[in-house]
């Protein structure tokens, strides 16, 4: 029956998936369960990276711990797998140390809104220039399906065997209240729109947040007798309602209830870096210099300089970066130039 060149077992090494250039394909197949939605979300995200045209060297992916946190290990980009809950502070440090980077946090609902909840709200309040992708599967997947702050009312989890009862976070509402510049929500079924939102979020100045609802087949679906991730995808198909600009106070998610998706917030606020520069240029004048840019400039000079020990005479790399530090900064910080 099969007439086209469907690769049969054994001959697949000749074929390359169109996204293999951004995947550590030697690690595939990945660890995610059959019908888990995380892979589809990653697929859309990788497509968005290409659409955004951001150079690969200027992107860094930071993940916390969890099934979603494994993303950091599958992307062929600079990436860091931090401790549980601490992806946002790590990403913030990375951004401040090198402003040119597009820093993306890719993590789970538990990692970002439970143990990392405080970092999430403060990064949004500061309008820190990072993008946060939150795969919300309503549960702690990796550790056996415990209830998360996002678990919708009455869902059965390993820590709520008679049904959850705590009110859940409505993440778009939370992020809107804290000051995020961009907030959208889609499910892993909405592949085209999710990709578009990822692209917009990557190019947005300030704090951008995309929530991707995705099935956890093994724990959430199975415990709640909802079938598999396949059934949840069909559920998203039948129960999602697209409402761009919807009032975020009304987009909370009940157990197996309607899911409102769309782009909810897209606004411009000054970022933390802008406010920081503005304040210190106003108060310190000449004495203030953009520390992070100095480091980046010095690193660039280092990279451009010929490796030490070669016979090149045209320029001396070490002195170059020293000059750079001096140019941008006060005398007392001349040690900046010697960080090689």
């Amino acid at each position: 029956m099969t007439q086209t060149k469907t690769t049969q077992p054994g001959s697949e090494q000749e074929l390359k998936h169109p996204q293999d250039h951004l995947l550590r394909s030697d690690r595939l197949p990945h660890i995610w369960c059959a019908t888990c939605g995380i892979g589809t979300v990653l697929k859309c995200f990788i497509e968005a990276i290409d659409r955004s045209k951001i150079p690969y060297d200027d992107i860094a992916i930071v993940s916390g711990i969890g099934c979603t946190g494994r993303v950091a290990g599958y992307v062929k980009l600079d990436s860091y797998h931090t401790t549980h809950g601490r992806a946002i502070p790590f990403a913030t440090g990375l951004k401040l140390a090198n402003r040119r980077l597009k820093v993306v946090v890719f993590s789970g609902d538990g990692d970002l809104s439970a143990i990392g909840g405080n970092h999430l709200i403060h990064a949004a309040r500061r309008n820190m220039d990072i993008t946060v992708v939150c795969v919300n599967n309503f549960i702690y997947g990796m550790t056996g399906g415990q209830a998360a702050p996002t678990t919708p009312g009455t869902a059965v989890t390993s820590t709520t065997p008679w049904g959850a009862f705590e009110p859940a976070f409505n993440l778009p509402q939370l992020l809107e209240a804290c000051g995020a510049s961009y907030v959208a929500r889609w499910t892993s079924l909405h592949v085209r729109r999710l990709t578009k939102s990822f692209t917009e979020a990557l190019l947005k100045k300030g704090f951008s947040f995309v929530e991707a609802i995705a099935p956890c087949s093994t724990l959430y679906a199975r415990r709640n007798r909802l079938g598999s991730g396949y059934d949840l995808m069909k559920f998203y198909h039948d129960h999602s309602e697209i409402r761009h600009g919807a009032d975020v106070n009304e987009v909370d998610i009940g157990f197996q209830d309607k899911i409102t998706v769309g782009k909810f917030i897209d606004r411009d606020r000054p970022t933390w870096l802008e406010l920081n520069d503005q304040q210190h240029e106003a108060t310190l004048g000449e004495k203030y210099y953009r520390h992070a840019e100095t480091i980046a400039a010095a690193a660039e000079a280092d990279a451009a300089a010929p490796p030490t020990g070669t016979a090149e005479k045209t320029q001396d790399g070490g002195k170059d970066s020293g000059k750079d530090g001096g140019k941008n900064g006060g005398k007392d910080d001349s040690k900046e130039g010697s960080h090689a």
């Binding site: 469907t6 697949e12 293999d20 197949p29 059959a34 995380i38 697929k43 598999s228």
Partner: protein
């Protein structure tokens, strides 16, 4: 294809043709590609891959319009579609 209103330039539109490729070892048999293909091109095979999962196979190659939906929705980076007219480029260059 059936239209509720025939487009004015219907005679000039060329419906794209796609060709499906599968990295069998990566497939976990989720059936997303089969379920969400808008053209009913794919069915699940009764064969198993080395990991013990059924994988999709092409039942109606002539119906594929190279929309890439199966490629985008596959959580396992296992299936993709290339335009049929072009020579298959395996990207190895």
């Amino acid at each position: 294809m059936r239209y509720w209103r025939v487009p004015l330039d219907a005679d000039q539109i060329k419906i794209p043709q796609g060709e499906i490729h599968l990295l069998v070892d990566r497939c976990k048999g989720c059936e997303f590609c089969v379920e969400f293909c808008p053209r009913g091109v794919l069915v699940m095979s009764s064969e198993y891959n080395p990991k013990g999962y059924h994988y999709p196979e092409v039942a109606h190659p002539e119906l594929c319009v190279d929309c890439d939906l199966c490629e985008v929705i596959c959580p396992d980076f296992a299936i993709f579609c290339l335009p049929k007219t072009e020579e298959v480029n395996d990207g190895a260059s």
